[in-house]
């Protein structure tokens, strides 16, 4: 490469509103990031595919940020024993390309292919999807359905939180402000995996309903975008596991979800389709 040439701002500024009010530092290592998150109350930023949309719209709340994109230790997908370990900075593209995911958790690859388009898939991260805690997060029903475990670290602790305990309400989780998600772990999944996302169009769509299911000895099924958090439909699962009819299961499902009307869809539509997709899951995965 040729030697450096300094290019100063030679035209009128055209930066976004909030930029000069933002304070962004870069973490060089996980230890660095954890310290800064604790001591300086900085919000981590990785793929920025949610946070910078907020910045563009002027709704970005935090002004103290720490860029964790460069922490390579948080990348990578590996298998330890029989557990799939997905680093927090795994992008959707990483998940789509991973042979481990293809073999052990193919419905994560299915979900990843339906997130945004290639550009978003190249930057959006699994850790970010989990931390963002949107009820519409596309990977969340996948992790809920397989009873994944979220690995959290702080400066002097590490804990593993089962996915069922991770979310406590709309956009809230048990994560402490001094913690970072470092990985999500998935034990071996027995049974057929099934995934379906209904968006506002065929690509680049926010989900109106998203469903992930596993037909093992007992069925596991999770729904997104039909409640303030991702929902594991446990009562519905129990009905099916004990040999109940699909009609009984459908009726039970109605009690477990709480869909709303919003800019993208209606509660009524979400109800109908949730039930239809339950039936479809059941018939598709029947041996």
């Amino acid at each position: 490469m040729e030697s450096g040439r300094r290019v100063a701002a030679k035209r009128g500024e055209r930066v976004r509103t909030a930029i000069s009010g933002l304070d962004l530092t870069r973490a060089r290592s996980l230890a660095d990031a954890l310290r800064v998150v604790r001591d300086e109350q900085r919000t981590p930023i990785a793929g920025a595919t949610d946070l910078y949309v907020a910045l563009n719209f002027g709704t970005l709340k935090p002004s103290l940020l720490v860029d964790i994109w460069g922490i390579d230790g948080l990348r990578g997908i590996s298998v330890k024993g029989d557990t799939l370990v997905i680093g927090a900075l795994t992008t959707y593209t990483d998940a789509i390309k991973s042979p481990h995911v293809a073999k052990r958790l193919p419905m994560l690859a299915d979900a990843s292919r339906l997130v945004g388009g290639p550009q978003i898939q190249n930057r959006g991260t699994i850790g970010g999807n989990i931390a963002n805690a949107s009820p519409a997060g596309d990977s969340l029903p996948v992790f809920a359905a397989v009873d994944a475990v979220v690995v959290l670290k702080s400066v002097d602790s590490e804990r593993r939180v089962p996915f069922r305990d991770f979310y406590t309400g709309y956009r809230t989780s048990v994560m402490r402000p001094d913690e970072l998600i470092v990985a999500v772990e998935v034990a071996a999944v027995e049974g057929k995996q099934w995934f379906r996302k209904v968006g506002t169009r065929a690509a680049q769509a926010i989900s109106k309903i998203v469903v992930a299911g596993v037909r093992g000895d007992t069925p596991r099924i999770a729904y997104g975008s039909v409640a303030p958090t991702v929902v594991r439909a446990r009562e519905t699962e129990r009905v099916l596991a004990s040999g109940g009819s699909i009609d009984d299961a459908a009726a039970t499902l109605q009690r477990e979800i709480a869909p709303i009307d919003d800019l993208r869809s209606t509660a009524d539509y979400r109800r109908r389709v949730s039930v239809n997709l339950l039936r479809r899951f059941w018939s598709d995965t029947a041996s």
């Binding site: 500024e13 055209r14 930066v15 509103t17 506002t200 065929a202 926010i206 109908r272």
Partner: protein, 718 residues
């Protein structure tokens, strides 16, 4: 080697593909400021008071206007209100009702009230302006509004008499919502004070001379002002009239500050504040005989115009003229009303009223066919307009009428009847629509426009100097082909001037599918004149001997056109283009999602000047029509667009757009350049009814757009 009919290399050069083409936001000028619009946040009311404050400790005394302004100026702000307007606070268009800046009355959300400029965008945006209002009750429902913006009556024969004698009467009400243009480049202009004391406006515009007219209203008739069109990233009608307001705003700021001012909207502001397609409610009452002959058509059209007149009377006009569809009927009554509501004014969008009314009539036709037990193709064939038939306005159609030609081709090419039978009872469906679109301005419109074109001889050839704009549809190229072949010189020796109102002729607006048929025709006449004057010399030879000369001509509509503006009878358009679309869909029974599998578009528009560009118009317009049919939904809350982000107002991606089979048929229009008619808008009229008719085939009684899965889930089954 003639260029017309060939896919010659385009006059745009390679700049669009290299990133060198200059769009409005790419331009910078020394000392440039950025501008911002302060808009109302209520749909209806009166302004009571204004407080201005800026973050980081800067405050002004409340209600103290003069002190506020003094402080603002010391901090580098330029502040503009209606008091800074030297001329008239009226956006000159059809009526004189819309202000550039609200004075006291606010009639819609996002109505512009104040303007600000500052060198630094962040500082500019840090200023908070709080406005208190006395609110008034808003009207949002056009059917409940009492404000009639415009009424049109088109009457032929005796519709009540004929209805009484019909075997069957079929009634129906059909609705369409707003549609947002989503040109990928938002609106943007830069106003630049010039050394001679005038002002230049560079901008993303379709109609630079419309902007001049509006600026002269704003500044005074003898104002020195010129408009230069920058490379424009899509228009579709959304940059026909709106840029006049934006230009006026930038000019006011530039005048006051003495500096160039750039105003480029971001996507959210553009979607909330600028024009959209008019929502419609169309009611049909149709008398038919048992054999399928239509004997009476009674149509009621309501359009939601928004808060100001803008172009609604013309949208209503075109919508009503097309409301009876591509069919002949002796007894027709079309009553149309555009209504005021307290919403941002709706405006021009490709099709301009016809997509709404042709949606209604085409869905209605399939319902008629169903009620009579007649094949929908046969019903159309029986009633389609033929040469010699009269339209609803009493226009006798000529040989360039192609309804049956396009219908038969589409039916044959898609194997329509076999698929119709085969798909019945499956998750697949197939539907059809027959439609037409008048080329050029309605009735006496072209005469009133008085459009001109000019050719200048140059050292190497000739330069085209017209006000028509290239907005992606291929204006530069197509005009150059017409001129080159008429002059019998190489296509390469024709150049096209960038539209600068101080340098080119006023060719009228780049709208109404007129840029080829009308302006291309004037250019053809200019070229014939020039050819005669050149004699046997080439342009180069003549130039070397005598220097340059120019030929300017104005448009002469065909002399057989007769139109009465008062009775709305006569020859509405010099010619029509014709289309027949067939939509094949797959419906997901679990989610009601619709996957278009294939769209066949058979379109007749005289003849293509540049086949690849023409095909591009058809494919692009068809994709927009599919979006209109299925996924584009504007959600209004308190009179403003609530889903003003591309995340929530969705247009088709690659994966939403089906394979398209485009068939371009020719039926030359004798008074068009090389036989060409207009094309740009025709493709928009067909896809939505074809899709909805396919849904009817599947078994869903859909009567409104967009046909979203949420709508289908609650639709009555047939």
């Amino acid at each position: 080697m003639p260029s017309v009919g060939q896919n010659v290399s385009r006059k745009d050069g390679i700049g669009k593909a290299t990133g060198r083409a200059q769009y409005a936001d790419d331009l910078v000028f020394p000392g440039m400021l950025h501008g911002r619009t302060i808009r109302s946040t209520i749909p209806h009311g009166r302004i009571r008071s204004t407080t201005i404050s800026i973050h980081s400790g800067f405050r002004t005394p409340d209600h103290d206007d003069a002190s506020q302004r003094g402080s603002l100026a010391r901090h580098g702000f330029t502040f503009v209100s209606h008091r800074d307007i030297p001329g008239r606070n009226v956006v000159a268009l059809i009526e004189a009702d819309q202000p550039f800046l609200a004075e006291r009355d606010v009639l819609h959300q996002a109505e512009p009230i104040f303007l600000l400029a500052h060198e630094n965008v962040q500082t500019l945006n840090a200023l908070t302006i709080e406005i208190t209002y006395d609110t008034l009750e808003p009207v949002f429902d056009p059917e409940k509004s009492e404000g009639v913006l415009k009424r049109i009556d088109i009457v032929k024969g005796d519709v009540e008499f004929a209805l009484a004698r019909a075997d069957v009467i079929v009634e129906g009400t059909y609705r369409t919502g707003h549609q947002e243009h989503v040109y990928i480049e938002p609106n943007g202009v830069i106003a630049v004070p010039e050394e001679d004391g005038g002002i230049a406006v560079y901008g993303s515009v379709q109609c630079p001379f419309y902007v001049i007219k509006a600026l002269k209203s704003l500044l005074g008739d003898d104002a020195k002002v010129r408009v230069i069109q920058t490379e424009t990233g899509g228009g579709f009608g959304g940059k026909e009239e709106y840029p006049s307001i934006l230009a006026g705003h930038a000019v006011l700021l530039a005048r006051k500050s003495g500096r160039p001012v750039k105003m480029v909207y971001d996507r959210v502001e553009d979607m909330i504040a600028t024009t959209k397609r008019h929502p419609s409610i169309v009611k049909h009452r149709t008398g038919v005989m048992r054999d399928g002959r239509i004997v009476a058509m009674d149509v009621d059209v309501i359009l939601d115009g928004g808060a100001y007149v803008t172009l609604s009377p013309v949208v209503l006009s075109r919508g009503c003229i097309h409301a009876a569809g591509a069919y002949r009927c002796e007894n027709t009554r079309i009553v149309g009303r555009a209504m005021f509501t307290n919403t941002p004014p709706n405006g021009a969008f490709r099709g301009f009223g016809a997509p709404q009314t042709e949606f209604a009539v085409e869905v209605h036709m399939d319902r008629i066919a169903e009620q009579l037990g007649i094949d929908p193709v046969e019903l159309r064939r029986m009633n389609a307009l033929r040469p010699g038939d009269q339209t609803a306005t009493g226009q006798t159609l000529r040989d360039d009428t192609s309804a049956l030609i396009v219908l038969d081709e589409a039916v044959k090419r898609t194997d329509f009847h076999r698929k119709r039978a085969e798909y019945k009872g499956t998750n697949k469906a197939i539907g059809l629509s027959l439609f037409y679109h008048g080329s050029g301005f309605t009735g006496s419109g072209e005469r009133h426009l008085n459009s001109k074109a000019r050719l200048d001889l140059t050292e190497h050839g000739v330069r085209i100097a017209v006000g028509s704009t290239e907005i992606g549809q291929g204006t530069r190229t197509m005009h150059a082909q017409i001129v080159a072949d008429t002059l019998q010189i190489p296509y390469e020796s024709v150049e096209v001037a960038q539209p600068d109102t101080s340098k080119v002729a006023d060719s009228g607006p780049t709208v109404a599918s007129r840029t080829c048929m009308v302006v291309g025709k004037i250019l053809e006449e200019c070229a014939l004149d020039m050819r005669a004057k050149l004699g046997s010399m080439t342009p180069g030879q003549y130039y070397a001997k005598h220097g340059s000369f120019s030929v300017e001509r104005k448009y002469e509509p065909p002399d057989w056109i007769e139109w009465d503006d008062h009775t709305y009878r006569g020859d509405a358009y010099a010619t029509f283009a014709w289309g027949c679309d067939v939509a094949e869909l797959e419906i997901d029974p679990d989610t009601y999602e619709i996957k278009p599998i294939k769209l066949t578009a058979v379109q007749e528009f005289g003849r293509p000047i540049h086949p690849a560009l023409a095909k591009g118009q058809i494919e692009g317009g068809t994709a927009q029509g599919l979006g209109y049919a299925l996924i584009e939904r504007v959600v209004m809350k308190d009179g403003a667009m609530a889903n003003a982000q591309l995340t929530n107002y969705v247009i088709p991606t690659t994966l939403d757009t089906p394979a398209m089979d485009v068939v371009m048929l020719e039926n030359r229009y004798p008074d068009g350049p090389f036989g060409a008619k207009g094309l740009g808008e025709l493709p928009m009229d067909g896809p939505a009814p074809a899709v909805v008719n396919a849904l009817r085939h599947y078994g869903l009684d859909v009567r409104e757009l967009p046909a979203t899965p949420e709508l289908l889930a609650t639709c009555d089954s047939l």
